[in-house]
């Protein structure tokens, strides 16, 4: 399955990417995260305050995935 992964704010700066396409078998958002943190360039995704979204809705890392989903990882939001 193919998953479109997005990064925002400090995460996209640290990783050096806004987005990437991943191919593989990912049961949950956390499976995507686990696959990425194998590469030291994605260490920032180990932060305990990490937030995530599936198809533009805030979710927990245990959220199940389907092919074609959009997953986003970002630090705590600071709007307002």
């Amino acid at each position: 399955m193919s998953i479109n992964v997005l990064f925002f704010a400090r995460y996209s700066e640290t990783i050096g990417l806004d987005s990437l396409e991943m191919e593989g078998d990912f049961a949950t958002v956390d499976a995507v995260r686990q696959a990425l943190v194998g590469d030291p360039g994605f260490d920032v995704l180990n932060e305990t305050s990490l937030m995530c979204a599936r198809n533009q809705e805030m979710c927990s890392v245990d959220e199940p995935l389907e092919a074609g989903d959009e997953v986003a990882f970002f630090p705590p939001v600071t709007g307002g």
Partner: protein
């Protein structure tokens, strides 16, 4: 309800007046305006950049607004948030709730701001004399949102 996410500046006075202009049934308008400060966490702030998640931002704000409309008898609700480059003194965010009586408007306005702070995908980056830095999230914002559960 109206949701606007825009780089353009806005005039909070114009926005407040528009809340009751078309509806004389409105007896109360409560509004909140958030401004860019020139000082934060011990640093002088020369400017700010507001990043967001296009698509999700609008959806998240609409979801918060719908929840407010379900909880209180509102006649109008507006949420306006700036994105992009901002200078100290400029308004960043505007939330206003209109209702027949004041309590619903007070509560809905506070509710929307508290939820926006923890659920809307915006991130502030400040320009300071020591360089640019991302603003950290605050635990107190989560405590504020939790009081509506």
């Amino acid at each position: 309800m109206a949701i606007r996410v825009q780089p353009a500046p806005f005039d909070p006075g114009v926005e407040v007046n528009a809340m009751h202009a078309a509806n004389v049934g409105v007896g109360a308008v409560v509004s909140f305006v958030g401004y860019v400060r020139d000082f934060n966490d011990g640093h002088d702030v020369a400017g700010m950049f507001l990043e967001h998640y296009p698509g999700m931002t609008e959806k998240a704000l609409a979801k918060i607004a719908v929840e407010a409309e379900q909880r209180w008898p509102l006649l109008k609700l507006e949420v306006l948030h700036r994105i992009g480059a901002l200078e100290p003194g400029e308004p960043i965010v505007f939330v206003a709730a209109a209702s027949a009586h004041r309590q619903a408007a007070f509560d809905a306005c506070a509710f929307v701001m508290d939820y926006l702070k923890t659920r809307a995908p915006f991130w502030k980056k400040e320009s300071t004399s020591e360089g640019a830095r991302w603003v950290d999230g605050r635990d107190s914002d989560h405590a504020a949102a939790d009081r509506w559960k």
